[in-house]
Each structure stands twice: as C-alpha cells, then as structure tokens.
C-alpha cells in the first residue's frame, strides 16, 4: 500500500484529504507543521509528501530544502499546495525541489487523488479499502465511484456552508481589532491573525470547490502577507481594501456557494492612464487574477470606447492631459451603458483622503499610487465578482460590443 504524508496546518483540509486518500486505498498520515512533518517522514517513510507552503514557524520552502538535503528523501515526490497569487513563493518552492505545485484555489479531494495516482500510482478504484465499504464497485465501478465522489463532495460543501456564519463573524472581529489597533506591533499582530483566518478560508473553499470564495480569499491572503512582511505598505488605501475584501467575503458566503456560480466570470475591463509604466502595472495586476483588459492612454479615445461598448469595470487615472479622470467619469455617467459601471480612480496617496472629487464625479472606489499590485488585484476581483453575482440593471439601449475589442477569456 502506497504511503502519503500530508503536511498541512489546517486540520479540516488535512483530515478531508487524508480521509479521501485512505478511502481510496492509500495509507496516509497528517502532520500539522513542518518540523513535525520532517520527524514523521523519517519514521513513516512515505512514497510522497503533500505539503502546504504556508505553514506557521518553519516555512514550506524550508521543509522542502530539508527534505532534499536528506539522502533517503532526495528523490521523494513532493506535491506542493500554494496560493497562485504568491508567485515568488512558488518559484522558491520549485528552486528548493518541489515535484509539482498545485493551486489551492480549486483542488477538491478527487483532484488530489487523481494527482497522486499519476505521480506514484496506487489508490486504484476498487481497492481493498473501498471494496470493503462499496461492494457494488465490482459491477458498475465508474458510475459508483463518480456518485460516491459527488456525494463526498456534496457532504463537504454542506459542512463548509454550515460553518460560514461563524467564519464570517471571526473575520469581522479580526478586522475590527485591526482597524482599532493603535500601535504598529498590535497592527501587525492583527494582520497576521487575519491572514491565518483568510488562509484557512482559502483552503476550505478550495477543497469544497467554491471557486469565487477561494479566489478572493487567496488574493486577500497574499495582500495580508505583503502587509505583514512590509509594514510600510500599511496605509489608508490598503486597509480600506482589506476591509472591502472581508466585507465582500460575507457577500460571497451568501451568494457564492451556488453550484452554478463556481467559475470566475469573464469580464471586460477598461484601463485609462496616460503613462505607459502605470498602465502596464495595472494590466499586470489584473492578469494575476486572469482578468483581461483593454488599455488606452488618451481619455478622449477612452470615452469613444465607452460610448460604443459595455464594460464591467473601469480604472481611471486622475491627472491626464486633455481630460481629467474626474471629467471622464462625469461624462461616462451620462452614457446609458455606464450609469452603474464600477469606476475605480487611481490617485496619489496624498490625494487619497480627499475623496470629494471622486465621489462627485460618480466614482465607486479609489486606490492610492503607488499601489501594491496585489491590492489592485483584490479590488478588481471584488468589483468583477459583485457585478456578476449581483447583475446591475442597465438602462437605455445596448449597442453590441465589438467582439474583437472585448477579450472574453478570463
């Protein structure tokens, strides 16, 4: 029987994976931190390790390095679970010797099982463990296995949905503590606590297949990690974004668990900034969430695009030659297509607290330059997901959007 060691600090996630692997004929052990994991590895002698990169104390990357430094385990397959928004961390994991890196955003137990079968074999459907509990496998294996998987997944979802109110209450309490903290030490402590809670939401939503929740939680987790590691980036803009994201997780807990809402929707995003490097930074931040956009430098050209096409989200620089972002926003609000389109202003931090102009122009949100790339990603995800889960009423005529202009891939 093949043996798998799961090193994962979230007990729900680790137990769900272990139960699934055991049910399918593997022998599985769990360790809740890196140091324990290394000790268990030496006695348990696994055929593969499933490792969460975001562990407390000893990091997942350090665990990989240690494993690779021990002769007996230098070739041991290590499957790494990570947050797709933490690209540098994933690269570190590759360099340290990870065998495979998998996104936590959407990895139900069935997917982990398939991955283990491909990597080390074993765990065949109809295994001894499974036959003991599911005698009908011998006659209709594929159908029964599929039904059993669906039932397992359905039960998992129900359990997670039942826990969401308590999870939301804890997130809100954590946010309140963060907002009220008046020293840097206290602020960092609360950011770290919030980060751990959001990390758990990401993992739990990922195994349950709640993709929008997992996506937003993953992006927020990456933002909180950035703030914790670089406190100089904690400011009124980033804290506002964190608060918006926690608030929106509450919205997703209510509306984002329906089985027909489990894809990140395609979105049409317009970026207007006269400066090329800033445009590139915005586009890059959107691409982190697989959101495609159209960018223009000329506000007049942007207005023409807006007149002829529907967009789901608009990012506007404020200070542009010819027409300011505020003026462009005022004009676009008079277009029937864009009375309700979310508009996010990108403005200097010094202007951030003076919100009157942006609100009077009809803006919905703002972000301070120089923004953290992951902060803009979080903002974009919030607006896109809200728009798709709570469709805005659009008034007036709906001219057909130019399909060549609107990348549909998300």
């Amino acid at each position: 029987m093949k043996k798998i060691l799961i090193i994962e600090d979230d007990q729900i996630v680790s137990n769900v994976y272990r139960n699934k692997l055991v049910m399918e004929g593997y022998q599985a052990e769990v360790a809740l931190d890196g140091e324990t994991g290394l000790k268990v590895m030496r006695t348990f002698q696994p055929d593969a390790i499933v490792l969460d990169l975001m562990l407390p104390n000893m990091s997942g990357v350090d665990v990989i390095r240690q494993i690779r430094s021990e002769a007996d385990f230098s070739k041991l397959p290590i499957i790494v679970f990570s947050n797709t928004y933490l690209t540098n961390l994933i690269q570190d994991a590759w360099k340290a010797g990870a065998t495979k890196c998998v996104s936590k955003i959407n990895c139900p137990p069935k997917d982990l099982l398939d991955l283990m079968r491909r990597t080390i074999g074993g765990g065949e459907a109809g295994s001894h463990a499974r036959q003991k509990t599911e005698g009908a496998l011998a006659t209709k294996p594929a159908t029964v296995v599929s039904e059993a998987d669906a039932e397992f997944q359905d039960e998992l979802r129900k359990t997670l949905i039942a826990s969401l109110p308590a999870t939301l209450a804890a997130l809100r309490a954590g946010l309140q503590s963060l907002v009220k903290s008046n020293t840097e030490v206290a602020r960092l402590k609360h950011i770290h606590e919030l980060y751990r809670r959001v990390h758990a939401v990401n993992g739990n939503a990922g195994i349950a297949g709640f993709v929008p929740i997992a996506h937003l939680a993953a992006a927020l987790e990456a933002l909180l990690k950035e703030l914790y590691e670089n406190p100089k980036n904690i400011n009124s803009s980033t804290l506002r974004t964190v608060a918006s994201a926690v608030d929106f997780l509450g919205f997703l807990f209510e509306r984002g668990t329906r089985s027909d809402k489990q894809e990140i929707p395609s979105a049409r995003i317009l970026v207007v900034d006269d400066e090329a490097i800033s445009r590139r930074a915005i586009i890059y931040s959107l691409e982190k969430a697989q959101l495609q956009s159209i960018s223009v430098e000329d506000p007049n050209a942007a207005f023409k695009l807006l007149s002829e096409n529907q967009f789901d989200l608009v990012f506007l620089d404020v200070d542009m030659p010819g027409m300011t972002g505020y003026e462009l926003c005022t004009r676009l609000r008079n277009l029937p297509l864009h009375t309700k389109t979310p508009v996010v202003f990108i403005t200097g931090l010094s202007d951030f607290d003076n919100r009157t102009s942006s609100m009077m122009a009809g803006g919905n949100d703002f972000i301070a330059k120089p923004f953290l790339f992951i902060e803009l990603t979080v903002k974009a995800l919030i607006h896109v997901l809200r728009g798709k889960l709570q469709p805005r009423p659009v008034t007036g005529n709906h001219p057909a959007s130019n399909p060549q202009l609107m990348p549909s891939k998300c």
Binding site: T87, Q91, V102, I105, C107, A281, Y284, D319, P370
Partner: protein
Amino acid sequence: MKNTPDNELTPAAPTAPSPKTDTPAPADKVQPVEMDRLNDLTDGDADSIRELVDMFYKQTTQQLAQLEAAVRANKADDVRRVAHSCAGASATLGMTRFVPLLRELEKQGAAGALTTAAQVYEDAVREFKLIQNFLAARLNPAAPPPGAAHS
C-alpha cells in the same frame, strides 16, 4: 480556474536577485531601487525586468529633458505635469529616492513658484544616474559599471 491538471503551476524563468532586509534601512542607506517591486511586477523574469527597465530609461530620459526645458522657461504647469507623470512611473517601479525629488518639482510647479526647481532638477538627474548604475550592477553583474571601460 479549471481542475487538475490545469491547476498545476509551472516554474518560471530564473528570478533576478532581490536581497531583502528584515529591518528598515536608515534614510541615507535606502537603495535607489526596490527590487522586490520590479520582481513582483515581472514575476521575477529577468528578461521582463530588462524590458521594463529599458522602457523606464527611455521614458525618464525624455521626461527629464522636458523638465529641464520647462524649468529653464519657468513654465510651472509643464513642470507639474511632467514631474507628476514621471513620479507615478517611478513610484510604480520602486525608485524610492527618485520619487521625492519629482514630487518636490510637482509641488513647486503646482504652486507656480519654481524657487529651487533648478537645483531639485539637478538632484533628480544625479539620482537617475545612480539608478542606472544600481540596475546595471544588479541586472548585469558581470558587466563593468558605466564609464569603467574608459579607464
């Protein structure tokens, strides 16, 4: 996001070096460029960093020439506009020490009083050269620093 194997993540090109300090450096020891921001913006891809840096050099060289002309001609609004744009791009790329100089030019331009703008402009040109030296050493560690070939 689709299921496995599409959710398996792939390795990227080698990451450019980005030493990180745990404690904030004193103001006079702050590096000209926050390499973390450049690495983050390019996912650590060395070719993308070079492309972005080339774009920054080209754009900033033009903007500094425009700033010089505007300061000489005492065109405060032009100084404000160009300095604002240059500061935005520089802040985005993490040019930590360059940005305050540009913000000062923007401020003086907005106030319509270019009192010390000529000196601030000279400081900005000097800082831009330090950025170029810093990035040359980081991105091409084997290459001699600019000017070394003449000695």
